[in-house]
Amino acid sequence: MPFNQKPQKFNAKINTVTIGSGDKTVALGGNSTFPFYSFDAPTENTAKVGVEITDMGLEGVSEGIKAYYEGATTMADIAKKAAAMEGADFVALVLEGGDPNGENKSVDELIAIVKEVADAVDCPLVVEGCKNVEKDAELLPKVAEVLQGRNVLILAEKEENYKAIGAAAGLAYNQIVGAESAVDINLAKQLNVVTTQLGVNAQKIVMNIGSACAGYGYEYVVSTMDRIKGAALGQNDNMLQMPIITPVASETWGVKEASASEADMPEWGPQDERGIDMEIMTAAADLAAGSDAVILRHPQSVATISKMIKALA
């Protein structure tokens, strides 16, 4: 008896959400299979790779990343180089300097950077807040306002501030709303439900279901994504059919395996290599579990992950 290959067909699919404007756009989601299961049904859109830059410039980044951006002195320069990276589909600007427990930059100062970056590149943009819920509630609506017409993804509203951010990004300024929850299928769904109740179009929401670095409670990420994709496709749950974007770099570059210097941990070898592999392996696992887009920092990681995605398509 020959092998009887049984495809797993679903009568549902992940929403397609397009970010960017003009002829520079990328489509996230749209597939009706588990990630990379192109043997079950054709792939509508391949997963996308974003390059992370921050308002803090090149402060604290690894040697290899610094080398790539050599000569870039302004945020505009950095953004241009990020957009030109091999394998990059979009640029993700993180406004981490806004954190009141950190640099505590003012909203005006950050908005100036947002404008500088947006003017420098015409690729699709993702703008991430500083993670402080009060500051983001003030900052991200302004970002949505000044980038009107660019169709950017605003990351992210959370349970605590979805009204301010979701309404500004999704209703007032017609951007894409990023909805961030903490690795739990029910919390992810709940946030989508309340966001659509504000009047935001479900087709204009992208989820960040929460992320972790490989080795750091990563099993929760795997199972949450497995279950979300299972419910979205298998049960046609339209409150879980939003594409998933996962900021990888911000999780992986902070852990000691990636950040410890070679001087401190000589047996571990070069820091840059550890950072790259931590980023690559976490991203590959995210994509295998269900991320429709990942955000990375190192040019080697961006090139490798983008190549892997294309080889699997």
């Binding site: 049984k6 490989a214 279950r227």
Partner: protein
């Protein structure tokens, strides 16, 4: 796919002779269906009936053992496709590749490099458990056997990648007692390879030019009586390899097709030769999706630190949290005069907190006590992270070893401050931040 009582009853001789201890064959069949009795307890069962029953009640994926002693590993035996359904039971094992195509210097360098990565993470030893020894087309038995002997010297379990039965036989003569895998059967040589593997008593790896040929070859080997197999699902490229890995596992577990109910080998060296970063990506991808053995060109700390962490996470029991051993963990070169910090033993909390503490650069003693493997608030609510439990541990284990009398507690359990001050005379209790990310700033401010 368990059979029900009626299906089992149809296979019994229906004598109702009571020799099995049951009043009727029907009663016996019901007990077998429930798992209370074994089919062999009826002395009158025909061989055919026993065979078809054991086939029907066998697990969908075989458990295959390779190696010996410390190097013995269990592959396969999985029952689910997703870890939230039930725990994945057999961890992915990683093999570093050696090849007769490498020059001596490259082989020696690799052999020196492999043992360098060997460390412990949350109670688990992390190292490359396997060495893959590949025999290239042009190598002869002497050359291959010499390489196998060299590889065996590292003391890791071997996987022999060799499709020539004569060469394989020669190589097994020097290493078969350590129970290596012989990965080399295919459609054109499976009979001879089967004889070699059977004679040496080792697991046989099977491959095919596509998934259909793989299937047919496995079926043919099973017909020869060999069910001690692993399936090399590596295809011509990444896309085919991923499809094979998923389709084989899914056919076995979802569609109950036992011909594919075996562990897998994924050889990233074949599909991403020379590209160590791509191999890193693929090691992660195939750890997530159904690689039992993954072959790579190298396992340095750059690969090991993320990969073993990922594997440890993916293969945990979803019902059981990972815990850190209670104890005093000195960070940043702490000594007996350094500040004492405490948090719970939940591995995720421990890693996040210790990571931030290390980032601060401030020398301190991180004290971990048994808190049930729960997060700070949950274990506090459950009474497992309390004034009593913390003070008891400090008095018994910390006071004899540490001179500093300042204790930093998580901000989320600020309510414990008063209780701890009462129970720990002489100690200054400091309430830390609520979130780990605020620790660096908090500690720096404290120093200032």
């Amino acid at each position: 796919m368990a059979l029900n009582g009626i299906q089992i009853f149809k296979l019994t001789p229906k004598k109702n002779c009571k020799e099995c201890g049951c009043p009727t064959c029907m009663a016996f069949s019901m007990k077998v269906a429930q798992g209370a009795m074994k089919i062999e307890q009826c002395p009158h069962m025909s061989e055919d009936a026993i065979a078809s029953l054991s086939e029907a009640t066998a697990p969908p994926m075989k458990t295959i053992k390779i190696g010996t002693g410390d190097g013995e590993f269990t592959l396969g035996g999985e029952t689910v496709l997703f870890r939230h359904e039930k725990t994945f039971v057999s961890k992915t094992r990683y093999a570093v590749a050696l090849c007769t195509c490498m020059d001596d210097a490259a082989v020696d360098a690799k052999i020196k490099e492999i043992p360098k990565v060997d460390y412990e993470r949350i109670g688990e030893r992390m190292y490359a458990e396997l060495v893959y020894v590949n025999c290239s087309e042009d190598a002869d038995a002497a050359k291959y056997t010499a390489l196998v002997e060299k590889a065996a010297g590292i003391g890791r379990t071997l996987v022999l990648g060799c499709t020539d039965p004569e060469i394989a036989k020669a190589a097994l003569a020097v290493c078969k007692d350590s129970k290596p895998v012989l990965n080399g059967a295919n459609a054109s040589n499976y009979e001879a390879m089967n004889a070699v593997a059977a004679e040496a008593g080792v697991v046989l790896g099977v491959s095919g030019k596509d998934i259909n040929e793989l299937y047919d070859t496995v079926a043919a080997l099973e017909k020869l009586g060999n069910k001690n197999l692993v399936l090399d699902v590596t295809g011509a490229d990444l896309k085919e390899t991923f499809a094979n890995a998923v389709l084989v596992r899914r056919a076995a577990l979802k569609d109950q097709d036992r011909t594919f109910g075996y562990p897998s080998i994924v050889n990233t060296v074949k599909i991403a030769k020379g590209d160590v970063h791509m191999q890193a990506a693929l090691a992660s991808l195939f750890t997530m999706k159904y690689g039992s053995i993954i072959v790579m060109e190298q396992m340095t700390y750059a690969e090991a630190l993320p990969l073993y962490g990922l594997r440890q996470n993916v293969f945990t029991d979803p019902q059981k949290p990972m815990k850190v051993e209670p104890g005093i963990y000195p960070l940043n070169g702490a000594d007996e005069n350094s500040l004492v910090v405490t948090t719970v033993d939940f591995a995720l909390t421990y890693f996040v907190v210790s990571g931030e503490l290390e980032r601060s650069g401030v020398p301190l003693n991180l004290v971990i006590n048994d808190a049930g493997g729960l997060s700070v608030l949950t274990s506090w609510a459950a009474g497992k992270f309390s004034g009593n439990s913390i003070s008891k541990f400090i008095i018994e284990n910390v006071e004899p070893k540490v001179k500093c009398r300042k204790l930093l507690i998580p901000g989320k359990v600020a309510v414990l401050k008063g209780d701890l001050e009462a129970k720990l005379p002489g100690w200054e209790i400091i309430v830390g931040p609520r979130e780990a990310v605020q620790l660096v700033k908090f500690l720096k401010d404290m120093q200032a």
